[in-house]
Amino acid sequence: MLGEQALNLIKELERNPDIIPPYNDDLMKRCIEEIKSLYQQNINSLAELNAGRVGAEHASLLQARHAAIERTKRCMLAYIYHRQQRLKRYRWDYGGVLPSTIKVCLCEAEVRWFHEYCKNLADFQSGLGESGSCGVDLTVNMEPPKSLFVQVMCVKDYDEFETSDGTRYLLKKNSLHSLPRQDCEHLIRQGILELV
């Protein structure tokens, strides 16, 4: 059926709402082939129409094919767009370094997009402020602060950790600590610490 490949792309994304599934290069290529073949068919039909070899009712065929082309194109663009959104969320939650588990799921263009996006964000952040020199890290303080310290439990061994006021903590598995909220935000997001 027309446009089914494209629908599969969207379905794949929907089936895995939380993670970034591997880039389905194969399916994308098939969609492009489908578009190209439909387009070719359209050109041929148009030529035949103009030559008068076929009746005017074939015009609706043309329209149907064109609609299928547009739809497939839209699906493919949506696929890329949504993957980008998920990648963007990744940058905000975990920071600017992609682990290899995620990297293998991306195509080259997406990796490049991610780096450029991070760079863009970093430029924006450093450009804030009057003198332009005081940078702001927008990825911290995502929640309104309720207290200065938070109680966290360490779920993985981490070794020594120094906070902004100089206290050194030895983060071993199964230990409870009270840390200043800002310093442990990124550790919480990485899953090493857990809020109690």
Partner: protein
């Protein structure tokens, strides 16, 4: 460095800032700046579209945050309760600031191309653009990144006539018919609302909103007042 207050740890935002900031010509107190930032943050959160930027507020808040941080560090070694309370206050201000910037960034990312076009139009009409120069650079770069990635993954492989893409058309348009809670800071004349008595578009009523009145009203009607600062969203 002159300090106007004698007890640096007395409660009150003023005491955290060095006195020199007050020597400016249009002396805006830190409390004022915080109030403006809060208002801008609230507005930005409630409005369905991007509002004109308040980067003047953001800039002054950022410089004050720096000053506060410095002061806290200097007096911070004794573990008094005041120090902790001041630190909490500082954290809250940083959160407000970051949240404001993040909300704007979110809206910009959603419809970057469209906003750039709108700003272009505003500049031609002689109005202030909604985005600051920093944000504009960000939006331009973002749009370009999107186009590049679309081209590389999809469009370049299609036949030439199918390669056209207008991002501005594809961006979601803010729903300005959305209802919002608004409070009038000044008496606003000439607020037009859809007339409930007659069906169909185009029938409008002109109402006057008294100062300090609160209404639930379509955003479209109060848009210009929000831009000018006569109304604020809740």
């Amino acid at each position: 460095m002159a300090s106007t207050s004698e007890d640096p740890l007395s409660l009150g935002l003023d005491s955290l800032i060095d006195g020199e900031a007050d020597d400016d010509v249009d002396a805006v107190t830190p409390a004022d700046v915080l109030q403006q930032l809060t208002e801008a943050w609230q507005n930005e959160g409630a409005a369905p579209e991007l509002l004109p930027h308040r980067f003047d507020v953001v800039d002054s808040v950022l410089s004050q945050i720096e000053g506060m941080d410095e002061n806290l560090r200097m007096y911070g070694r004794n573990k008094s309760l005041k120090h902790d309370i001041h630190k909490m206050e500082l954290d809250r201000i940083i959160y407000l600031n970051n949240s404001y910037l993040r909300r704007r960034l979110d809206k910009i990312e959603n419809s970057a191309a469209l906003l750039l076009e709108q700003d272009e139009r505003r500049r031609r009409d002689g109005l202030e653009p909604k985005m600051s120069s920093n944000e504009q650079r960000y939006a331009e770069k973002y749009t370009q990144l999107q186009e590049d990635s679309f081209k590389r993954c999809v469009l370049d492989q299609l036949p030439v006539s199918l390669q056209k893409l207008e991002l501005a058309r594809l961006a979601p348009i803010a729903n300005t018919d959305e209802l919002v809670f608004a409070e009038a800071l000044e008496t606003c004349h000439g607020v037009s609302v859809p007339d409930p008595r007659d069906d169909g578009p185009g029938f409008e009523q002109i109402v006057v909103l008294e100062k300090e009145s609160r209404t639930l009203i379509p955003y479209k009607s109060v848009q210009s007042f929000v831009y000018s600062g006569d109304m604020r969203l809740l």
